[in-house]
């Protein structure tokens, strides 16, 4: 059975956790409801001489099966708050992050890297098309902007997704990779004929190697 | 025309509002608005006063010219029902702009 792609981000585990909590709750509810239906279908199917019980309801049980779901959903909502604000609250953006800029356009991702000085918008910045290179175990902060239409910056293995809205200032997202390797960057928002091929590669470097790569490319510019 | 509606009519005959008075009120409020807009209070004060006056005028029209004051309560309830929705849309979205 195909399932969640392996999570290689620091925050992803918590999100998957909530996913599984909801999964188990809903599976149980699913079994109760469908099971109940099947049981009634079998148990109360028409037979000669069966007469249905004439009842208009029972408010006590109704209150019960109103209250229980209410409690469940309130809990689910509360659980989601933590990871949500961790991922989205601008106040909680990491200060010591490796800062990159990604500019989306039909149909490519233009990634701008700081040179050795680690600062964006300086002379030694360099660009790479459809290639996101990042170090492992260090917070990454990506500043997003769009040229034309709405795109969506989607890293399935990192549980990251953020629409990139043209004209919206200061859009950014942050995460931390936990596993070196090759991953994928996809566009999750319909953005035109080429939406399907608006993809890039993500390379997560083991400790130290990112800086080397950075230096090499900065030089070659 | 059925009995109750007939009765409604009578009711209106009774306290038929003074339309001219309402008209004068609307005219004065309009002048007031233009005044407020240009005496140059602070931004917020102006907005608050102007919106207040506009609502006042709107109420005059709805209550007297559209006879809401003389309609059965159920109709009145029905009429104000969508206003909260309008408010939700604008206010919620405002926090985003």
């Amino acid at each position: 059975m195909p399932w969640l792609p392996p999570n290689v981000s620091a925050h992803g585990g918590e999100i998957d956790g909530i996913f599984y909590v909801i999964l188990w709750i809903t599976v149980i509810i699913f079994l109760l409801v469908e099971g109940g239906l099947l049981w009634f279908i079998f148990r109360y199917r028409h037979k000669e001489g069966r007469k249905a019980e004439h009842t208009h309801g029972n408010w006590k049980v109704e209150v019960v099966w109103t209250a229980i779901p209410f409690i469940i959903v309130v809990v689910l909502g509360a659980m989601s708050w933590g990871p949500w604000s961790a991922a989205r609250n601008p106040a909680r953006a990491p200060s010591d992050a490796v800062e990159l800029a990604v500019h989306a356009s039909q149909f490519e991702w233009q990634v701008t890297y700081p040179g050795p000085d680690g600062e964006l918008d300086t002379g030694d910045d360099f660009e790479q098309r459809n290639q996101l290179h990042i170090p492992v175990d260090r917070p990454i902060r990506i500043h997003l902007s769009s040229e034309d239409v709405i795109h969506s910056f989607f890293l399935p293995h990192f549980r990251v997704k953020q629409d990139v809205v043209p004209g919206m200032e200061g859009q950014s997202l942050w995460f931390e990779a936990t596993e070196p390797g090759e991953y994928v960057l996809a566009c999750a928002e319909l953005c035109g004929t080429g939406h399907t091929r608006m993809m890039g590669s993500v390379t997560v470097y083991p400790a130290g190697e990112f800086e080397a790569w950075q230096a090499r490319n900065a030089a070659s510019n | 025309m059925d009995a109750t509606a007939e009765a409604e009519m009578q009711a209106q005959e009774g306290n038929q509002p003074n339309y001219m008075l309402v008209w004068a009120g609307l005219a004065v409020l309009t002048l007031l608005e233009v005044g407020v807009a240009f005496v140059g209070f602070s931004e917020t004060v102006t907005v608050i006063i102007l919106v207040g006056l506009a609502i006042w005028k709107a109420l005059l029209v709805a209550l007297y010219y559209m006879h809401l004051r003389f309609e059965p309560p159920r109709l009145v309830v029905m009429v104000i029902a969508p206003l909260p929705l309008a408010a939700i849309l604008v206010l919620a979205a405002l926090t985003d702009f």
Partner: protein, 207 residues
């Protein structure tokens, strides 16, 4: 007379809310109008709070005195409309006709003034489309202004046309003290359009 049939001794109120179909229908329709203008006015408010710099100060571009006068015209047309209704309520045919004519006239006059206003503004480069725009503020200002006032104008136009039809019927003596649902329904629509303008005038011209 609505089509509901009621056995003797039971009145409409048992099931309805004591408002005849025509009138109730118009009210229901007006509720949808409220939401329609909410979409337009809401968009204006949101865009303006998002990009204040795109909008000019009141009076900077728009001719407020002229429009204030026009607002007064519309208010007058409202009172003449309600006078027409009051007249037929008392079975006064003459009054009905007179006041309806006045209302039609005022409505048409309002449109005339708005047309003149548009013409003036456009000639100063205040237009809805982005390229041709060269007035204070930014194209967004022109686009929102013409859309809001334009759709109100369209409502007034429809109102005037309907009102002419009602007036014709009035001259044919179709309305009596007992039955004049047409006049009342027309009035509701007309006052609503006036009400919308009261809001628009404040938000678009004064704030």
């Amino acid at each position: 007379m609505d089509r509901m049939t009621v056995p003797a001794g039971m009145d409409q109120a048992e099931v309805g809310i004591g408002v005849p179909n025509m009138k109730l229908g118009m009210w229901v329709f007006l509720l949808s109008e409220v939401m329609f203008f909410t979409a337009l006015i809401g968009s204006y408010i949101l865009l303006r709070s998002a990009r204040p710099e795109a909008f000019a100060e009141p009076g900077e571009v728009l001719n407020v005195p002229l429009t204030a006068f026009n607002t007064f015209v519309l208010i007058c047309s409202s009172v003449s409309m309600v006078k027409a209704f009051a007249a037929i309520e008392h079975g006064d045919q003459q009054g009905l006709k007179r006041w309806l004519l006045v209302t039609v006239g005022l409505g048409a006059f309002f449109l005339g003034v708005q047309g003149y206003e548009y013409f003036e503004l456009a000639s100063h480069g205040f237009v809805p489309v982005a390229e041709a725009y060269h007035a204070a503020g930014e194209p967004l200002y022109g686009a929102t202004f013409y859309t809001l006032t334009g759709f109100h104008g369209a409502h007034v136009t429809l109102g005037v046309l309907a009102m002419i039809w009602i007036t014709i019927r009035a001259f044919r003596g179709r309305y009596t003290q007992g039955s004049h649902a047409g006049v009342e329904t027309m009035g509701l629509y007309w006052h609503f359009v006036d009400l919308v303008w009261i809001i628009l005038f404040t938000i678009v011209y004064l704030i």
